[in-house]
């Protein structure tokens, strides 16, 4: 009799979800699904609001990566105002976005994933958390705390508060950068770089322990999508949208984000509040593509900064030009942090960053705008339509976790097929199903628009739908 397994809730991710694993009549895994069970509906909440309010409202989608929503939203508003932010305004948006990538990746790597990487996926759950890291490897814990604190401090210094700053506005930013703040940030970057390099050393020195997991943690061919700069370097704020296949060939390049609906499809399933984005040309559900740090470093020709390029070269020497296992999101995240810190230095050393001209002003000059940016978890689209008075009529958000939804489902299935035996849930299977989702660092608050952290619920179901086994964490 076919059966089904459910993991509900899934832990150490951002949001609420559960996993079901269905067995066939022979007791083998037939299908697995990652269900996102929360709903917020920001697209509807904002209808009727003045477009100038959008960045501040949209930042409330998430407490981890509000800056990316601020940036993508402000860029959509720029189009509606038909303005281009002054160069210093655009660069200051970049600074804040990069700082946010640092703090968000630090949370994902050190707080959420490092317990598995340090203690092993089968270690006692009671000690497999940040407090366990504090006891076993205090330097790793200190580095995580310091990097997260660094990113949060930069955001707070620029925007007045570390969560939901209202500093990024349509047309630019709300206030120029002071010389003192610039010097304080610059002075702190060397320490943050040291900590990142030390963590990268620790990771690359221990990752071979997890070769078996890397081989089944979402290791399948798929496309990858990210922004790249004019010379093919990694880019977080602007640039061209590029999509590559698993061999590294370009499926598309220099894409205009505005007609994203012509190349990206969005499917909805009755069993999840999270939309599944797919590459239109390949259809649904075959058009799987991935975004986020692994996609960014796979898609880019180079990172464009010395230390990150060195780290990327070592990464590619070990894993090839386009590593396809989602396990490598962890290392990609650290390389991304390195790149962000170097870019921060570059941007802040430019004397023009202190320019007082940081915002352009205009009324409503267009009825539609699309804003795009690289959020910590991947490419983020905000698409607005407004009436002639600038009141929002329609909104569509295409969030990193939605881009990765098909890949996450495929990864859960791959892990389940490898580890599920019989009609009972086992700890090794449960640990690894959770961990493969964690590789993507999904933010369900962003992608469905809910609050809270993600507990875990797994159900094992038979072919008739009967619940055979169930685990909660």
């Amino acid at each position: 009799v076919a059966e089904e397994i459910t993991l509900d809730p899934v832990t150490r991710i951002e949001g609420h979800a559960k996993i079901t694993i269905r067995l066939d009549d022979a007791g083998r895994v037939d299908d697995a699904r990652f269900h996102v069970t929360q709903f917020r509906g920001f697209e509807r909440i904002v209808q009727g609001r003045p477009v100038h309010e959008m960045p501040s409202i949209m930042a409330r989608i998430c407490g981890i990566c509000p800056v990316s929503h601020l940036v993508a939203s402000a860029k959509a508003c720029d189009e509606i105002l038909a303005v281009e932010p002054p160069p210093a305004g655009a660069d200051l948006r970049r600074v804040m976005n990069l700082a946010q990538v640092v703090q968000s990746h630090a949370l994902s790597f050190f707080h959420l994933s490092a317990p598995d990487l340090l203690f092993g996926f089968d270690a006692d759950l009671a000690g497999r958390n940040l407090l366990g890291i504090v006891g076993a490897n205090p330097q790793l814990a200190r580095d995580g705390i310091a990097l997260r604190r660094f990113g949060q401090h930069v955001i707070e210094q620029l925007g007045g508060k570390r969560i939901h700053p209202a500093w990024v506005v349509p047309g630019g930013v709300d206030a120029p950068l002071s010389a003192d703040t610039r010097e304080a940030i610059l002075a702190a970057i060397p320490d943050a770089l040291d900590r990142t390099l030390r963590t990268l050393d620790w990771y690359t020195g221990s990752v071979e322990r997890w070769a078996a997991e890397a081989a089944v943690f979402g290791d399948f061919p798929s496309a990858f999508m990210a922004l790249v700069g004019p010379d093919g370097e990694a880019e977080h704020y602007d640039g061209r949208l590029r999509v590559i296949d698993p061999a590294g060939h370009r499926l598309a390049d220099d894409l205009d984000p505005r007609p994203y609906g012509t190349y990206i499809g969005e499917a909805a399933e009755p069993w999840s509040y999270l939309k599944s984005a797919y590459w239109h040309e390949l259809g649904y559900p075959d058009g799987v593509y991935r975004v986020g740090p692994l996609a960014r470093i796979n898609v880019a020709d180079r990172m464009g900064t010395p230390l990150a390029d060195e780290a990327l070269a070592a990464f590619r020497a070990r894993l090839g030009r386009v590593p396809t296992s989602s396990f490598h999101y962890h290392q990609a995240r650290l390389i991304d942090v390195l790149h962000c810190l170097e870019k921060l230095t570059e941007l802040l050393r430019n004397p023009d960053i202190l320019s007082p001209h940081v915002r352009a002003y205009a009324g409503i000059n267009a009825c539609e705008g699309v804003g795009i940016a690289e959020a910590p978890r991947g490419t983020l689209f905000h698409h607005y339509r407004v009436d002639e008075n600038g009141l929002v009529e329609w909104v569509n958000l295409l969030i990193a976790t939605g881009h990765n939804n098909l890949a996450m489902n495929k990864s859960v299935l791959e892990v389940a097929r490898h580890y599920v035996r019989g009609d009972r849930l086992t700890e090794p299977m449960l640990n690894r199903v959770e961990a493969v989702i964690r590789c993507y660092d999904p933010c369900l608050s962003c992608s469905t628009h809910a609050i809270g952290q993600m507990p875990m619920h797994v159900q094992l179901l038979g072919s008739t739908g009967a619940v055979l086994d169930e685990l909660h964490r």
Partner: protein, 164 residues
């Protein structure tokens, strides 16, 4: 010796009286303070605060409490650095866990006190219940007295904002 006094007001201002510490923190943060008195306003205690705690000579937390005493009652207690119960925390901590982190990571566990006011309602909504609205000035006065009493400990050197 580190002599800074760190005051952290925390809570969720969108959940009624849960925001008591947050409101107190905002009020204190707007006041003129001697150098060395730092006020942080947070929605919750997070691991990153361990580094701030480690740099302080005295830590005072302000929070709402949700049971035990009658609504509006103000209680002050000292926090011990006892190990936190095992759970998969990553986003928020109890005061004792924050102190444990500071001690384990930075070899410092300054005296830490928490001042709580018992809330009447924790439902969705901004603003405090009348009873906690009345308790707010009293807690602010207590913190001012703490600052004043600990004045001799206060280092007049301004702290940089990037202190590891």
């Amino acid at each position: 010796m580190t002599t800074r006094i760190l005051t952290i007001g925390y809570g969720n201002p969108l959940r009624g009286d849960d925001g008591f510490g947050w409101h107190a923190g905002v009020q204190l943060a707007c006041e003129r303070r001697r150098p060395g008195c730092t006020v942080l306003v947070r929605h919750q205690l997070t691991p990153e605060l361990a580094a701030d705690v480690a740099e302080a000579g005295l830590v005072v937390l302000i929070d709402a409490s949700c049971g035990g005493e009658p609504a509006g009652e103000i209680v002050t207690r000292r926090i011990d650095a006892s190990p936190a119960p095992a759970h998969t925390w990553s986003h928020h901590l109890r005061p004792s866990a924050l102190l444990v982190l500071s001690r384990t990571l930075y070899d410092v566990d300054p005296p830490m006190f928490v001042i709580t006011a018992t809330g009447a309602t924790f439902n969705y909504g901004e603003g405090l219940s009348p009873v906690l609205h009345r308790a707010l000035p009293e807690v602010v006065r207590i913190i001012r007295r703490v600052w004043s009493a600990a004045e001799e400990l206060v280092d007049s050197r301004p702290a940089g904002w990037f202190y590891w």
